[in-house]
């Protein structure tokens, strides 16, 4: 959670492009702290008196142009760097996180952390930090995206707003650009570094009685198809006008990739070997057993360029490409080093690090099929198309039953075609059961939901999807 928070909050100020156009003096062109994260890591390691020390330094630039009611209404840029230090003293582990990276502040933070570790009970069976390991780099960095200006974002957004006005609909969304650098080093000689850029676009289009949505991400702003997403969201909103009502019940549904991401996200904690060992996962006793339908294969692969994130975990272990589920059979779990030692298997590079431990897949590849979305619809006599979901929450985190609402484009399918928009519907489904009812899939593509992280997901045609009520 801390890492995520700091990834979200991080970002450097300025940048030559921004400052130059602003006409500010050259003396202000340097970002707030020009020390490379790797050097910050080394500096902190050098200052630590703990038995073992791990340092991660995060630094990001992040700028968001947000719009609603066909106007830009929030427009921000943020900058921050932070260091997260794990300190081990006589087998006890304490963590400190600070964005005050001057030497006096770092010394003070380290002193407090070492003292806290000294006063705690040792972690049973404490595992020393790992030494150097080979980490295969992944390239997802684009200078133009990191340096994207507010004028560039405003220009792109203005085209979307003009399209919305032209279609007599209302647009709300965001265009975000930024970069993240992560450096990790420990006192046993391990070093790792990753940097990447991000460009995200999200759009909700509202008409009087309907809405449409599209969202996409890329590491290059130039690869973000803002125009295409704008057209799709507008088309959905227009097509969904004058929505009808479908009675609650079980339907065959076509889930677009974002909707699949919204549901499969709830599966991911269950792959943690520690959770299985603590009997808090639905995969207890299921390794090597069929858990989903035979057409479901799920991998984790950080090296696919369409993914995001560092190729190492919170302990500095290289992320391995894993086949979690193959042809419906549970093949492997994700393991941090402590759990790996207990189970006799190797760490997979998905751990959060001591003392919290735990692991989860972070770069899902849900292997798709060959049919395009329209073919999934064409093959259906009666069903429902779902664009994405909203406010999905677990009813039972053990059985992975979840509830939520459809949002921004729910359509009735009749005789292989979309015939009308539908009012939003509430569902209650068990995700494992749903994945035993997959009839057909499109090829996987990059997708994320409003609340679910990005991965590679196909559209799915699924039978017996359980709707329990309607939005008024």
């Amino acid at each position: 959670m801390n890492r995520r928070k700091f990834l979200e909050t991080a970002a450097a100020m300025g940048g030559a492009c921004l400052v130059k156009a602003c006409g500010t003096p050259a003396s202000r062109e340097q970002p707030f702290s020009s020390e490379p994260p790797r050097e910050t890591c080394e500096r902190i390691l050098h200052l630590s008196s703990a038995d073992e020390t791990q340092v991660q330094v995060f630094r990001t630039r992040n700028s968001v142009t947000r719009f609603a009611e066909n106007s830009i209404h929030q427009n921000v840029t943020e900058g921050a760097g932070a260091a997260e230090v794990v300190l081990v003293v006589a087998g006890s582990v304490a963590r400190v996180v600070t964005n005050r990276l001057d030497e006096v502040s770092i010394r003070s933070a380290l002193r407090e952390g070492v003292e806290r570790a000294r006063r705690q009970k040792p972690v049973p069976d404490f595992l020393s930090m790992p030494g150097p390991n080979a980490i295969r780099a992944v390239s997802r960095f684009d200078l133009a995206t990191r340096e994207a200006s507010p004028e560039e974002r405003a220009e792109a957004v203005s085209r979307t707003l003009a399209a919305a006005l032209g279609a007599s609909v209302t647009a709300a969304g965001l265009l975000e650009t930024g970069s993240t650098e992560t450096a990790l080093a420990n006192s046993r000689g391990l070093t790792a570094f990753h940097r990447e850029t991000q460009a995200n676009f999200s759009l909700t289009v509202l008409s009087e009685d309907s809405s449409g949505w599209a969202q996409g991400a890329a590491y290059r702003l130039a690869d973000l198809d803002v125009g295409g997403m704008t057209r799709r969201a507008i088309e959905k909103a227009q097509r969904a006008r004058r929505p009808g009502a479908a009675d609650p019940g079980r339907y065959t549904v076509v889930l677009e990739p974002a909707a699949v991401a919204d549901l499969v996200t709830f599966l991911l904690p269950a792959f943690d070997a520690r959770l299985v060992e603590e009997r808090r996962s639905c995969f207890v006793g299921k390794l090597g057993q069929p858990v989903f339908g035979p057409n479901v294969t799920i991998l984790d692969d950080v090296h696919d360029v369409r993914q995001s994130g560092a190729p190492f975990d919170g302990e500095g272990v290289a992320k391995r490409r894993l086949c979690l589920v193959e042809d419906g059979v549970l093949r492997t779990l994700v393991r941090d080093r402590a759990t790996a030692r207990k189970t006799g298997a190797g760490a997979t590079g998905h751990g959060s690090g001591p003392p919290e431990y735990g692991a989860r897949p972070s770069n899902v590849v849900f292997r798709g099929g060959t049919e395009i979305r329209d073919e999934l619809i064409r093959g259906l006599a009666r069903g429902i198309l779902i664009t994405h979901f909203w406010y999905v929450r677990s009813n039972d985190p053990f059985r992975l039953t979840v509830t939520g609402m459809t949002r921004d484009g729910t359509f009735l399918i009749e005789n292989g075609a979309l015939t009308r928009g539908l009012r939003n519907m509430r569902f209650n489904v068990a995700v494992p059961e749903m994945l035993r009812g997959v009839e057909a899939m499109s090829p996987e593509e990059s997708a994320s939901g409003i609340e679910s992280p990005s991965g590679l997901y196909p559209a799915l045609r699924v039978r017996d999807f359980n709707f329990t009520s309607l939005a008024p």
């Binding site: 909050t9 100020m13 921004l18 400052v19 602003c22 003396s27 202000r28 707030f32 968001v64 609603a68 009611e69 106007s71 830009i72 929030q74 427009n75 921000v76 840029t77 943020e78 900058g79 921050a80 932070a82 006890s92 304490a94 963590r95 400190v96 996180v97 005050r100 933070a109 006063r119 972690v123 200006s149 974002r153 405003a154 957004v157 203005s158 707003l161 209302t170 709300a172 999200s202 909700t204 509202l206 009997r279 003392p355 919290e356 431990y357 909203w390 406010y391 929450r393 009813n395 039972d396 053990f398 509830t403 609402m405 939003n424 509430r426 209650n428 489904v429 359980n466 939005a471 008024p472």
Partner: protein, 484 residues
Amino acid sequence: MKDLVERAVTIARSLGASYSDSRGVLQTWQTLAVQNGEIRRSVNEESLGLGIRVLVGGAWGFAATDDLSPDSVESAVHQAVRIARAGASVPGRRAELAPEEKHLADWTSPCRRDPFKVPLEEKLDLMFAVDRALRGVKGVTSSRVDLGFRRSESTFASSVGSLITQRRTQTGAGFTVGAYSDGEYQTRSYPTLFGGQWSLRGYELVNSLDLLGNAVPRAEESVALLSAAPCPSGEMDIILEGSHLGLVVHESVGHATELDRALGTEANYAGTTWATTERLGRLQYGSDLMNVVADARPEHGDSPGCFAFDDEGVPARRIDIVKEGMLAGYMSSRETARRLGLPRSGGCMRATSWNRLPLVRMTQVSLLPGEWELEDLIADTRDGILMATTKSWSIDDKRLNLQFGCEIGWRIKNGKRAGLVRNPTHAGITPRFWGSMDAVCNRKHWALWGIPHCSKGHPRQAIGVGHGAAPARFRKVAVGVAGP
């Protein structure tokens, strides 16, 4: 910090900003967790920085930096102005602000025992004692005890001339215990979910909760739930205990009456609302027993939603949200209040940190107490379920179709508790649900529940809020709705 934030505002004015404000914030946290007999979290964090918000040509710009050197702060102001100008270059709505007076203030939240000065050993001794008590109950398979402490010191300056310093200390404490058997896993949390109770108090909160005294009863409940009857399906009267009802207020009333949502500015993420502005004063939200206020003042309580001034320099206020069942008001900012024609802001603009833009956020949004004693209410219920401690929560993007689950229920038959209910759930449509409320318990049963992380905006901001509620009864509500 005062010099820096005032300087930032001065520079913004010189660059043409019609309005600006700046916040310098130092935040410190400590979070501790003991899980299954081990320390699983021991973290101290700190974050220091400054944000500057400017209005140029009717468009907003915001920039933030963690480098507090004069050059860096000046650079941040230039960036904020540049961003605002880029926004102003695109046709669209222009921001105007409701009037606000200049305020000079220095406020510190009450904190009798500084949690950051309590010896670590005292904290861990309590946590391990609670953990041992939980795991000492036969059938328990997992346990987790959490303590959390947060302090923020915020210095705010605005071009109105305000200069406000606020120091807020928050404490959170609680535990969750789990039992697994034969493919069934059940949990109980105390005092509630979300890491327990959170208050704008010091370590005195921890001592007041009696975590140790409540450990064994909750652990026994988690084990007993494994063999409890499943929640029946159908329509039934339900009584919701206060901490759970507080979250129902949060989802179905609090978010629905944030004025920015009502105006459409959160449509892409959190959604809009059914409580649209043209219905103000005319919309029947619930039964005439329903009275909801948004009250950030310390007089209302000491949850994480309490403060003296919001993050655009408006004093904490009490606003009627629902009065005798009718929609009576919204939570607002200076900009949104102006759009609705209100004389001034509701004082609800808050940011999670120095690097976040203030947004309209819930404060302390509470259902006011009624007249009933809880035992009288149970005795008055012929056939129903008493539900406690939130386990699941979901509502649509207009805040109408809601579904909640609880950790535990007790069947009520002929006015008496008649056994445990496993996985109780209830669902409904907001005005019908609140319209079915026919009894609210009195102040003796009313408590203010702190929630440490309510998410909104992009970049997402998770902020602390509070909800006061006493147990209340709802007639003929759909229950047992979650079974696939």
